[in-house]
């Protein structure tokens, strides 16, 4: 992968390094267990939002069923470890493969579609998966809670993991996954995706096989969303139908819209901050999603390019104003 984008300004990299440093020493500064938990979940959610941006922002294929990939991974982890008795690492690998497989199917089916139709198809597929698992009971042992339905299925890990280990593992995962996503976004492939999102017609006119690259975007995106799902399942220890819910798909699109579609870093940071603010304040799930929807509507109406997008636009126009002066 060859970086083709313009080099990032040193200030952004510095700010990111500082943020990572703060997250690194935060547990040592003695934050309570609740906040540690909120942050750990937030890291997985941030990666999941970033993965939405690969397909929804950079490649411009509005997905409203992104939870499908996440839920596939969590359910595969749960079913394989608790029902089939597989060891967790093997189940995690299988879950990743399955999530990518689902991504391949969604990509194949939605590649010929455009704009709102991709959104409709992905929404329908996500809802179907949610409805299916909601009505499915996998095991009903006598004298114990049955597995499946709304309560979900437990994920079995071989040993107990301390909250600290989970926190640092999740943080490492966030940093690694975000780095990978930024690299992909700035690669040749990412450039083609951006062209696709800009205008499918012009991309096709320049000899790009549009369908193939759309499918690839879904593959990459589902792999990362699946990885986030595996991590989340391992940490929470349970796969529930919430993992397939329209609300979760909607959250990914919301974080991306707020952070700035097509920037990768914007959605990741927006997910982290919004989740930390609302979950950290102890707002119940219904209220949280309500506030997300409100933030989304305001953002779409007044900042159509999101926070990071608006900043980037402003910086670019400033640079363009300054450039002639420096040259002349």
């Amino acid at each position: 992968m060859k970086p083709t984008g313009t080099p990032r300004s040193g200030r952004t990299t510095g700010a990111l390094a500082a943020a990572a440093g703060v997250l690194l020493i935060l547990p040592l500064a003695g934050i309570d267990a609740f906040l540690l938990d909120v942050l750990t979940v937030g890291f997985f959610l941030a990666v999941y939002s970033g993965s939405w941006d690969i397909v929804g922002g950079i490649a411009g294929q509005i997905s409203l069923g992104h939870a499908l990939f996440f839920g596939t991974a969590t359910y595969a982890c749960a079913l394989l470890t608790s029902l089939a008795g597989w060891p967790f690492p093997l189940a995690a690998l299988a879950a990743l493969v399955l999530a990518v497989g689902v991504g391949a199917v969604v990509g194949y089916l939605s590649a010929p579609l455009k704009g709102p139709f991709v959104a409709l198809l992905t929404l329908v597929m996500g809802e179907a998966a949610h409805e299916f698992f909601l009505g499915q009971t996998f095991l009903s042992p006598e004298g114990a809670y049955s597995w499946g339905g709304e309560g979900g299925i437990p994920v079995v890990l071989s040993g107990a993991v301390s909250p600290w280990t989970s926190y640092y593992a999740a943080l490492a995962f966030l940093v690694l996954a975000t780095w990978a996503m930024v690299r992909v976004a700035r690669s040749q492939e990412g450039l083609i995706w951006t062209a696709l999102a800009g205008s499918e017609l012009s991309a096709r006119a320049s000899g790009v096989n549009v369908s193939r690259h759309k499918r690839r975007a879904f593959l990459v995106s589902s792999a990362i969303a699946g990885a986030a799902g595996v991590g989340f399942a391992a940490y929470v220890g349970r796969a529930t139908t919430d993992d397939f819910s329209l609300e979760l798909s909607f959250q990914a699109a919301t974080f991306a819209a707020v952070g700035g579609r097509g920037t990768v870093l914007g959605p990741v940071i927006a997910a982290l901050i919004l989740h930390l603010l609302l979950q950290g304040a102890g707002i119940p799930p219904a209220g949280r999603v309500l506030l997300y929807a409100l933030v989304l509507l305001v953002t779409l109406r007044f900042f159509p390019r999101g926070v990071a997008g608006t900043f980037r636009e402003r910086a670019r126009s400033r640079r363009m104003v300054r450039a002639p002066e420096e040259n002349g």
Binding site: G60, I62, L64, L109, P112, L113, K114, G115, P116, F117, A119, L120, L121, L123, V124, M125, E127, A128, E131, F132, L134, G135, A197, G198, S199, E200, L201, L246, E247, F250, A253, T254, A257, R261, A286, G287, V289, L290, A293, L294, L296, L297, L300, R301, P304
Partner: protein, 295 residues
């Protein structure tokens, strides 16, 4: 539903009654698609709104199908005009903002309803049977919802073929010409959005007695309306009616023969198939150029 003497005929009759109201809702969605030219995912929320209005009236002891339908229409029209004027119209040319934003409004409403009325299922008394014809129970709500829905659909059909409907048809055909002959296109758009939302709320209020009233209840009729709109068109009100009644029967039958949640799965499957097999689907109805702007 209590065990009827003739279950299959009962289901077919109830399917016809509910299908008529679904047709009304689908006609609203088609109108939005034709005139406002957006795929509106908030349509189901207005259905839910209607059902909750009916529930609140019933709980306050003022429950009557017609009162509920009228009141919910007024409330939904106000909400619809506000949403259309302040959000849908300004972001109309961005497919992302429209799809995700209208879904955002639907989810906003679902969560608000959950906070006000709770996540659990509420219900309204079906009322005493009106008559029984050869083992099939006919209840007032069914007859009433059928008559109101068919009446409103007929009214819409008349409106579209009368001189009054000309602005709507012209905007659907070519908005630039409509604007150039002096029509206030934006105003007609948000009024249409409001009226279509009101119609969805009426359908919700009428169907409230047979529905399980939960915050997410609007998703099923939304998906059903999407199928109708993809398979039919804007102007052909009678084909909207026939497809909606067919889907109403299908979903009632599958709920009866399999389990209630299979009817939603079936509708989702039909939508997916239609989208995959007819990728031009909605594009055939909506002039293509609006969707060519990807961002």
């Amino acid at each position: 539903m209590t065990a009827a003497v003739n279950p299959l005929a009962q289901i077919l009759l109830d399917g016809l009654f509910t299908g008529a109201s679904y047709a009304l809702m689908a006609a609203g969605l088609a109108l939005i698609l034709g005139v406002v030219k957006v795929v509106n995912l908030s349509h189901g929320a207005f259905f839910t709104l209607g059902a909750y209005v009916a529930y609140v009236l019933e709980a306050k002891g003022a429950g009557h199908a017609l009162t509920a339908a009228f009141l919910s229409a007024v409330i939904a029209f106000a909400f619809g005009v506000f949403l259309g004027k302040s959000f849908i119209n300004p972001v109309r040319s961005h497919p992302f903002s429209i799809t995700v934003g209208s879904l955002g409004f639907a989810i906003f409403f679902e969560q608000a309803a959950q906070m006000v009325w709770g996540p659990y299922a509420l219900s309204i008394d079906l009322g005493p049977p009106w008559t029984t014809v050869s083992g099939v129970v006919i209840r007032p709500w069914g007859v009433l919802s059928f008559l109101v829905s068919v009446g409103l659909l007929g009214g819409l059909s008349l409106l579209l073929s009368s001189p009054w409907g000309l602005p709507l048809k012209l905007i659907a055909e070519d908005e630039e010409i409509a604007g150039s002959v002096g029509m206030d296109v934006e105003k007609i758009r948000y009024l249409t959005f409001g009226a279509a939302s009101a119609v969805a709320a009426v359908a919700g209020a009428l169907l409230a007695p047979t529905s399980v009233i939960v915050p997410t209840m609007g998703r099923v009729p939304l998906i059903l309306s999407l199928i109708v709109v993809i398979a039919s068109g804007m102007e052909k009100v009678w084909s909207i009616f026939l497809i909606a009644v067919g889907l109403g029967l299908l979903s009632n039958l599958s709920a009866y023969l399999l389990a209630p949640h299979w009817s939603y799965l079936l509708l989702l499957g039909v939508t997916g198939l239609l989208l995959v097999l007819r990728p031009s689907g909605l594009a055939a109805i909506v002039p293509n150029r609006d969707y060519r702007r990807e961002r």
